[in-house]
């Protein structure tokens, strides 16, 4: 199984991003997804910065994939999408059927925000040029096994295996709403929350995280303890960047994949690095918020 570093879902200052990817070049990940998937207004990294970072990571031996926005609303969103689709150098992750259409048969990764729930749809994506697909977040191991048992596409399967889960997208910016600002004049306040803004219930339970137009789980999805149940099904495990300790998280997954430590032991070592309590319900066919494996 390969390890990937997912696209950065948050808005971090430019220097933080440069530093993060300089470190990532040395981490034991095989694939790095780059690019802005959440909000077109974010601009600490411009397209040229992403492309330069992509070259740097490719030189470091990483497979680089350029991720594209999940919610494509405007002509300028489409313009950006076309520019990425036509970059001629790096693979693209499509997160919208508009992007799938624009690839016009050129190879791409079908991202987690394409709704791929059955082998018939997976076959359509393969015909459109997909080389790999990322399972929808809410899909369980059993649903994946059933799908792959009937799959004839032969695509690589990637699973979101670590991080706060991107659960929903809206045209509304919930961070701007929190600050009583209109989205068009958001003042880029999401840069103040490098891990999103935790939303709690009125009895203090951490429930969701507001990340601009994206709503995430407050809990951190982690399938480290479930690695054995993935064999024969999953080709790539995705780790989603977090502000601190991402390198350590990568190292623990790597050690478990290489057999250097047992998954349960690695999961035990992961516990103190988790910024919020873990969850793993989706993989086990339950509500996503639930944690089924004891640490």
């Amino acid at each position: 199984m390969k390890l990937s570093l997912g696209p950065l879902l948050y808005y971090w200052p430019r220097d933080t991003m440069l530093d993060f990817y300089a470190q990532a070049a040395r981490w034991p990940v095989d694939i790095v997804y780059l690019g802005e998937t959440v909000c077109s207004r974010r601009h600490e990294f411009r397209t040229d910065d992403w492309l330069k970072t992509a070259e740097m990571l490719a030189d470091a031996g990483k497979e680089v994939v350029l991720s594209t926005q999940a919610l494509i609303e405007s002509e300028s969103d489409l313009k950006m999408l076309r520019r990425l689709a036509d970059n001629g150098r790096f693979l693209i992750e499509a997160n919208d059927m508009g992007a799938v259409g624009l690839m016009a048969g050129r190879p791409f990764v079908a991202g987690p925000h394409i709704n791929t729930y059955n082998p018939q749809t997976l076959q359509i994506l393969a015909e459109a040029g997909a080389a790999r697909w990322v399972m929808p977040l809410e899909m369980s191991r059993d649903m994946l096994a059933e799908l792959l048992a009937q799959d004839t596409s032969g695509l690589e399967t990637e699973v979101f295996a670590y991080g706060r889960m991107p659960l929903a997208f809206s045209a509304r910016c919930f961070t701007a709403r929190r600050h009583n600002l209109p989205k068009d004049n958001c003042q880029f306040r999401c840069i103040e929350n490098p891990y999103g803004m935790t939303l709690k219930t009125r009895e203090g339970q951490s429930f969701l995280a507001l990340n601009g137009t994206q709503t995430q789980s407050a809990s951190v999805y982690s399938l480290l303890a479930a690695l054995e149940s993935m064999s024969g099904l999953v080709d790539v495990l995705r780790i989603s960047p977090q502000p601190d300790n991402t390198g350590e998280v990568v190292a623990l997954f790597r050690a478990a994949l290489d057999g250097a430590s047992a998954p349960q032991q690695a999961a035990h070592e992961l516990a103190p690095l988790l910024p919020e309590p873990p969850c793993d319900g989706y993989w086990h066919g339950r509500a996503g918020i639930e944690q089924t494996v004891a640490y």
Binding site: M97, N115, N118, F169, G204, R286
Partner: protein, 333 residues
């Protein structure tokens, strides 16, 4: 092009009421999780669907059938059979979200008209044109996230008819791209055809007030003088940085009556009324008002104005009795 009024029906009485009071088309679902209103006691079996189609066609109106959830591998055949059943019943179109199912329908029933469901999450013309080129979809229902200016861009760049939501429950998230419900309960619109399912809801009178919970997650707490609405996950009050408020969306309804002339001018093909889970009495009221409004706007867009009586009638029916123009109006975002 005329603007079609598309009304909801959760049962035969609602369907007939909608047809009798001015709907051009009625949309419905079969009685299982092949559609995004898979509620107990709601929807149509084969015989009721047949009767609905017969009733509508006798009056020159259309029936659209929503098959807008995503089939799983193990249950694929149920969705495939539902497409077959819809074609055999003689509906005027099926409303689909899953590409695999679109291919099946287009190959097996080439005469069957396909609409792209709002659950298909197509927010741009490239996505809509992809579905058109590959599966021949003839109409797309847009998610409730675009501004009117963005909608106009879509209309200009696609041969596909565009249908917009005009009235009723408001999804603040992009439909088909929201799994908040399965995060809390294990069931989402995509997979189970339900959002914030009733079986996971619990009401409890406590010392702190009336509390609503969804699979034990506290969604809201009401004072004695507050009106409690259905506990949809995104419409609860939550704490963010020590402030308690409707962090995602107020319990409000979409109402776009005042935008009708603009929608007609930009060539929108149809207006959809949300609410297959609502009563025949609700469907009657909403259909009546929207029929009157559409006719007035088409007669003379210049002099068209929302009549106070329409607003009053719709206001009584709305969730939380609040209205919004939603994303069509840019500042909402």
């Amino acid at each position: 092009m005329s603007l079609e009024l598309v009304c909801p029906a959760g049962n035969l009485p609602a369907l007939k009421t909608a047809i009798d009071h001015g709907a051009d088309a009625v949309y419905m679902g079969f009685r299982d999780n092949t559609n995004a209103r898979a509620f107990p006691g709601l929807n149509f079996d084969f015989a009721a669907a047949q009767e609905g189609v017969r009733y509508a066609h006798a009056k020159g109106k259309k029936i659209l059938l929503a098959l807008n959830t995503f089939p799983q591998t193990a249950t694929w055949s149920r969705w495939q059979q539902a497409v077959d059943m819809a074609a055999e019943v003689g509906v005027d179109a099926v409303i689909l979200a899953d590409p695999g199912l679109m291919r099946y329908a287009s190959r097996t029933w080439p005469q069957l008209r396909l609409h792209l469901s709002v659950q298909g999450s197509a927010t741009n013309y490239e996505a809509i044109n992809y579905y058109h080129e590959h599966f021949g979809i003839q109409r797309a229902v847009l998610p409730r996230v675009l501004s009117l200016a963005q909608v106009e861009q879509v209309v200009k760049h696609t041969p596909v008819e565009i249908e917009l939501f005009g009235f009723g429950g408001l999804c603040v998230m992009v439909e088909g791209r929201c799994v908040l419900s399965s995060y809390a309960t294990g069931e989402s619109p995509n997979t189970a055809g339900v959002c914030s399912p009733a079986k996971a809801v619990r009401w409890e009178q406590t010392g702190n007030g009336l509390e609503s919970r969804l699979n034990n997650v506290l969604l809201d707490r009401y004072e004695a003088n507050e009106k409690a609405g259905y506990p949809t996950l995104c419409k609860g009050r939550f704490e963010v940085e020590d402030e308690t408020y409707y962090a995602i969306e107020e319990p409000t309804s979409l109402n776009t009556l005042e935008l009708l002339p603009e929608m007609i001018a930009m060539g929108i093909a149809a207006i959809k009324i949300e609410g297959r889970q609502r009563s025949p009495a609700y469907v009657e009221q909403v259909t009546r008002v929207w029929r009157t409004a559409i006719d007035a706007a088409r007669r003379n867009a210049e002099t068209y104005a929302v009549q106070p009586i329409w607003a009053a009638q719709l206001g009584k029916l709305s969730e939380g009795q609040q209205h919004t123009l939603g994303a069509y109006h840019r500042p909402w975002k």
